[in-house]
């Protein structure tokens, strides 16, 4: 029984590209939900348009990586505008339902066989990484990162992914201490008061939606670079997991989403590694190995409930910045 690899695998989740992708998506949600008070339940939709924008523009139109990246971001901006126009005047719970519905529409449009030639329908897309990997400045080969050995493509992805996370954190930090950030946080606390000061609340909310959505699109692209684009990955459950990450770290914090994502993935990995091994050596005779994989998601659900009830500010949050608790 190899218990050592359990911890080295789990520890890699701290820096893995997927962790960075979830952190980016959670930072987008922090802008929406934590700072502006917008209950966006469609972050999976923003990630999907980012990922598909990148993949389709590469595969169908032959764009180089930078143009594909811009296409993904542009697609998310368009989605934010389409979504924001009808919904930003609505109450929080209505916004939640509309955004989750919009994300599902996006996913169904990518899944349907009607556009299979472009979207690959249920099978998804792959083979869009050539231009991206061609601009990799790191010489080909394997590299040691601490205890792990990874190839040049993975190392390059790690640098870019965590670079993006760092830039997003810096951007949010700068924005939230600027006058713009104060208006945004004012909207979260009391929309009418901000409106009474002569600010265009609608326009500020829209800007926040676009900004967080673009972060979601970056997250979607980082998410699909180590794998292929699968419509099944962008289900509402993805958004729910990102909420779990955000609330674990702290909704209105800079580092909350990042640390939240690291904890989420590390715990998932430790837990699945542990149960899989425990089942294998017969410690849990009532469980099959497939069931062992599902227990962790049951625990994610329970953890989400417990955090929201008992510590809604998360690990790093402050109780003062919790407009969503009293509404």
């Amino acid at each position: 029984m190899d218990w050592g690899s359990l911890f080295t695998n789990a520890a890699y989740e701290i820096i893995s590209p997927t962790t960075a992708a979830y952190a980016l998506a959670a930072m987008g949600l922090a802008v929406h939900f934590g700072y502006t008070g917008l209950l966006n339940f469609g972050q999976a939709g923003f990630m999907a348009v980012g990922a598909y924008g990148f993949a389709i523009s590469t595969l169908t139109f032959g764009f180089p990586w930078w143009a594909a990246l811009l296409t993904g971001i542009a697609a998310s901006v368009v989605l934010a505008l389409i979504l924001g126009i009808p919904t930003l005047r609505l109450r929080a719970d209505y916004l939640a339902i509309v955004t989750i519905a919009a994300a599902e529409i996006v996913r169904l449009l990518f899944t349907t066989n009607t556009f299979a030639a472009v979207t690959g329908s249920a099978a998804g897309l792959s083979g869009y990484k050539t231009s991206w990997q061609a601009m990799n400045p790191i010489p080909a080969g394997n590299y040691n990162i601490g205890p792990w050995v990874r190839d040049h493509n993975e190392v390059w992805l790690l640098i870019v992914a965590w670079g993006l996370v760092g830039l997003a954190a810096l951007l949010i930090w700068l924005l939230m201490r600027s006058p713009w950030g104060r208006v945004i946080k004012g909207i979260r606390e009391d929309e009418d008061a901000v409106r009474a000061l002569g600010k265009n609340v609608y326009s500020y909310k829209m800007q926040s939606l676009v900004l967080g959505g673009a972060m979601g699109a970056f997250a979607g692209m980082v998410f699909v670079l180590p794998r292929s684009v699968q419509p099944g990955n962008f289900q509402p459950t993805l958004t729910f997991f990102i909420y779990a990450i955000l609330l674990l770290g702290g909704a209105a914090t800079i580092f909350g989403p990042i640390i939240g994502s690291m904890i989420f993935w590390t715990l998932l990995s430790i837990f699945s590694g542990f149960t899989a091994r425990a089942v294998e050596i017969g410690w849990l005779p009532f469980m099959t190995s497939l069931q062992a994989g599902q227990v962790r998601f049951i625990l994610v659900g329970i953890a989400l409930m417990v955090i929201v009830i008992y510590r809604p500010q998360g690990i790093f949050g402050s109780k003062k910045e919790l407009a969503f608790v009293k509404q």
């Binding site: 939640a96 519905a101 066989n113 459950t237 227990v295 989400l304 409930m305 009830i309 608790v325």
Partner: protein, 438 residues
């Protein structure tokens, strides 16, 4: 979808004798060639997991049909054997795309529904996964638009009625407690799984298993409120917080169902293979008749309860303004408990009917309906029971009728689209009042 097969069966009758003969001849000839004509198994020795199937048309196995499997960086193909069977081993549990190459089917046979020659298979509990394609006649008998319209509208009505059962509970709970319950869909799944447990698993007759399941779902609704939501209301937890808690509950329950029942789809007794009754252009089964009758009776019962009984009037009063209801002497907590029980009973019934309509019981069947339930509730006006009924019928009709123009894998897109449109034009819904939008 059951009704597509029904429509096909209609066309099949015309050709049944002819094709029976052709395939009898076909079978004889393939037997004569040699049993080892095709390798019908690929990769089953190397790999633990396998996808298998049985290609048949009108109960006759088809030989030499090419099947392709792709996914997780692996692909393989195989031709069916003389017995119509095929099996492809795959390296790991995961999701694979299975394609039936239509060109390799005998002349005159096609995959029943356009686009259904490609299917996705996801491994659940078991190491083998069955994947069967529904085949139909190549010659398309054209059905007039009006006849198609009537048939779909009938299905839409059936779907809308079961959706109403699912929606009213959600709407009542919202009205009385302000909670948008994302875990409502899991009550539907609960009802279906309880029917499955008491029916096929424990061997109770279905007419007994269904009432037991419905009552248990009512109890489940009560326990939801008693163990979780009431303590949260006492703590004065905010509505957005409660909504996120309900998402946590939804995730927990869904994976718990998957833990207990596995990832596969099960059938309730009588869900498939019921005799098709044809009245003019509309074809349906006895299950549809039962489903619609039960829905209509229950909907009348709810209407009677809400408008004619004391406790029902109290429910509407609480829904209207719970503080005002409380000061006029209504026991709001008691009303809320009753609303949760009703919500559970209706959702349980709706879930069972949904299991017959789809058909099939699986761990996320309720969740697939959740957004349509939201659409119905918002369209009708959130918080009003009659709004939920009207909204459900419209959404149900819309989903089914939209398949006249849209491919069937996009039918939910239209319904979710009208949800967004309604919020743009009339956010309070058809029967809702403006102040609720806040």
């Amino acid at each position: 979808m059951a009704y597509h097969r029904r429509a096909l069966r209609l066309r099949k009758n015309i050709f049944v004798a002819l094709f029976g003969l052709i395939f009898a001849a076909f079978m004889l000839s393939s037997l004569a060639v040699a049993p080892a004509a095709h390798a019908d198994e690929v990769g089953t020795d190397e790999y633990d997991y396998a996808i298998s199937g049985f290609v048949k048309f009108q109960d006759e196995p088809l030989d030499g049909v090419l099947i392709k499997v792709e996914g997780n960086g692996y692909n393989a193909e195989v031709k069916t054997g003389a017995d119509g069977k095929w099996k492809i081993g795959v390296p790991e549990a995961g999701t694979y795309t299975v394609t039936l190459v239509e060109d390799t089917l005998p002349e005159g046979v096609i995959v029943a529904e356009e686009g259904k020659d490609v299917a996705e298979v996801t491994f659940g509990q078991s190491k083998t996964k069955a994947m069967n394609f529904f085949l139909g006649q190549g010659e398309r008998v054209t059905v007039s638009f009006f006849d198609q319209f009537l048939d779909r509208a009938f299905n839409g009505l059936s779907f809308g009625l079961l959706l109403a059962l699912a929606s009213i509970g959600l709407s009542l709970v919202f009205g009385t407690t302000g909670l948008v319950n994302f875990a409502h869909a899991e009550m539907l799944t609960f009802g279906a799984f309880m029917t499955f447990t008491f029916g096929p698993v424990l061997g109770f007759p279905i007419w007994l298993a269904i009432p037991i399941a419905v009552l248990l779902t009512g109890l489940f609704g009560f326990l939801n409120d008693y163990a979780l939501w009431r303590p949260l209301r006492k703590r004065r937890v905010g509505i957005v917080q409660m909504m996120i808690v309900s998402i946590g509950l939804s995730i927990t329950l869904r994976y718990l169902y998957q833990y207990i029942y596995g990832g596969q789809t099960e059938q309730l007794p009588g869900a498939t293979g019921a005799e098709v009754i044809t009245v003019g252009p509309i074809s349906f089964t006895i299950v549809d008749v039962w489903s619609m009758s039960i829905s209509i009776v229950l909907l009348f019962a709810v209407a009677f309860f809400l408008t004619r009984t004391r406790i029902g009037k109290a429910t509407r009063a609480v829904s209207d303004n719970s503080a005002l209801a409380a000061v006029s002497g209504i026991n709001v907590e008691r009303v809320t408990s009753i609303v949760w029980i009703i919500s559970g009973l209706l959702a349980g019934t709706g879930g069972i009917l949904w299991a017959y309509f789809r058909p099939g019981v699986n761990w996320d069947m309720g969740f697939q309906l959740l957004l349509l339930i939201f659409a119905a509730v918002i369209l009708g006006g959130i918080g009003t029971a009659f709004g939920a009924l009207v909204g459900s019928l419209i959404v149900g009709m819309f989903v089914e009728l939209s398949t006249l123009w849209l491919p069937s894998d996009m039918k939910y897109v239209g319904a979710l689209g009208i949800l967004i449109l309604v919020l743009l034009v009339r956010p309070q819904g058809i029967l809702g009042r403006k102040e609720r939008v806040g």
